[in-house]
Symmetry: C2
Subunit: 329 residues, 2 copies
DNA sequence: CTGTTAGCGCTTTCAT
DNA sequence: ATGAAAGCGCTAACAG
């Protein structure tokens, strides 16, 4: 049985409230008593029961983080930023997954709601936000990261997707490339949409006609990158330049090329989003826009913290980071 | 303000205890009352407050998961197994990081202890276990994953490291290779030690003398793989076969080779542990032992669950998985 | 400076 | 079948 304040009170002969005061650093206690209590607490191995404290204070010092997939390095870098930042203010983070579907997402949100988290950081798995609004709308602050939802306006932290993908595609065009294939992410998702806009904008500004057969959408995961790259390569007149919307689709695309194109002397070029530890091993990926993943998490955490503390300013606040640039080789 | 049982009681004219009974599925309540209460609860948007429930029941239905680094795909696959499995029994998981140091690990453990988790799954960052024992030793079940600690015997789930690395090294030797370099992980860590034993055993059984200059230990992270590979390649008489102790060190080693050896026609061969999405892009890695990462998590979770439910059988229980084999190309 | 008291929201005997 | 009452461990007025 864990030691409680009562046990310490009994042992030291003071009241429970005095023990509570000492242990929560109340200065208005005689040095004498402080010492006695602290010593006893230490000796008895006292650990505060935060469940009881939370019930009393109506504050759990816990925030929820929901993302589509927990083994995804991109999401976890954001989670790392969140955790690092919030830890400093005494919060812990419960990480939940939506497994890329709205039902699981809603389930996770419900659990977190019942655990009485003080705030939520969500990387939504779709463009739907009603379930978020219903559960947390007016009771607990919510910050979105990486993506927005259509039907719930709240604080969010993202990157300048359109500008970055414009720059990437425009760069290829300036080098004389005109047939640039587009490997998109899940079309429901903000970042996929915005990166596509950037692509279109670059073509338009350079007066290049859109070729619908050069545009394909996947789901931001490896297999879709593999499959789409395969389809492109099997066209009668395959493109040689590619914009790939995220890291995992790059891995898939590079794997396809590695398996089936290794002996061909084609000069293929890939540009796209993000850069991870293994990226320098990619053979065709040339230039990438790299999101400041940890910083996205840190910023989302800061924003959330402000809201938890009661800051009502400029709601909703959408914060956009610029990407960094990476050149391979 | 969230709706409480009291609110529902007031609204429906029954007592708080009746509402509680209905909502926790007690059958000994008139169908009439059940309906009324349920309807009211739904209409008012009632959500149980698990903080209060936990305090009363002395059970939080929360377990802690502590690992050295949250952005590490290997650890997160284990976490995924844990989360998937435990979710089915109504538990949620708080994931914390030790940042690869014992102080942070102890800090995380303390927080989890204060949050009154029902159990712990730990991937320890070193061979030290006293802080774990002191905090949880007799109050709350602890299962270790991937690694053991020296001074605290408890349930654990690992793989057959020695046998796997023996097989890998022996395989190279049988192909006539005699100078196999060893790139080790953090020497404090079980898996690093056991993989080294397997290497030594393979040399010994094949009557090959150990060459100390072919043995180097890193820390299981990319940079150490890079650095050690560099050192090996800069020897007067560099080895051509390598055993690399984990995936991240493989990435580092492959990156070094990619940067500095790309035009040389050396026939280098790498074997080692684990296989991730990007592994097929590795140029030199030939054969790997792949740990069933998700299954390790699942098993650890099952074990923990049994202990939480009070199973005292055969303590401590050490469960070892066999690895799978992967051949590149 | 310290003790007494009340109560956070819930579950659970014990009555009835 | 239902209600009254106690209490989980803690904090916070309010007294003194």
């Amino acid at each position: 049985m864990p030691v409680t304040l009562k046990d310490i009170a009994k042992k030291t002969g003071v009241s429970v409230s005095t023990v509570s005061r000492v242990l929560s650093g109340d200065k208005a206690i005689s040095v004498q008593t402080q010492q006695t209590v602290r010593k006893a607490a230490k000796k008895m191995g006292y650990r505060v029961n935060t469940v009881a404290r939370s019930l009393k204070m109506n504050r759990t010092y816990t925030v929820g983080f929901v993302c589509p997939e927990i083994t995804n390095e991109f999401f976890m870098k954001i989670a790392k930023g969140v955790e690092q930042e919030l830890k400093q203010s005494g919060y812990s983070v419960i990480i939940c997954t939506s497994n890329e579907n709205v039902e699981d997402e809603a389930r996770s949100l419900r659990i977190l709601r019942e655990k009485c988290v003080d705030g939520m950081i969500i990387i939504p798995c779709s463009n739907e936000g009603m379930h978020i609004k219903e559960l947390f709308g007016d009771s607990c602050p919510v910050v979105l990261a990486d993506r927005l939802v259509d039907d719930f306006k709240t604080d969010a932290v993202l990157v300048n997707n359109e500008a970055a993908s414009f720059d990437l595609v425009d760069g290829l065009i300036k080098k004389g490339k005109k047939r640039i294939a587009f490997l998109g992410g899940n079309e429901l998702i903000t970042s996929a949409k915005e990166r596509f806009s950037g692509y279109l904008k670059a073509l338009k500004e350079n007066n290049i006609a859109v070729e619908p057969e050069l545009i394909r959408f996947g789901d931001f995961y490896l297999q879709s990158g593999y499959d789409i790259m395969k389809d492109f390569c099997e066209m009668k007149n395959p493109p040689k330049e590619f914009f790939i919307s995220n890291y995992f689709m790059q891995v898939g695309a590079e794997r396809y090329l590695q398996e089936y194109q290794k002996n061909k002397e084609d000069e293929l070029t890939i540009v796209g989003f993000d850069n991870m530890d293994a990226s320098p091993l990619f053979r065709f990926t040339e230039r990438t826009a790299v999101q400041p993943m940890v910083a996205i998490g840190t910023e989302a955490a800061r924003l959330l913290h402000r809201r938890i503390e009661g800051d009502k300013e400029a709601f909703p606040l959408i914060s956009r980071f610029d990407v960094d640039w990476n050149v391979n080789d």
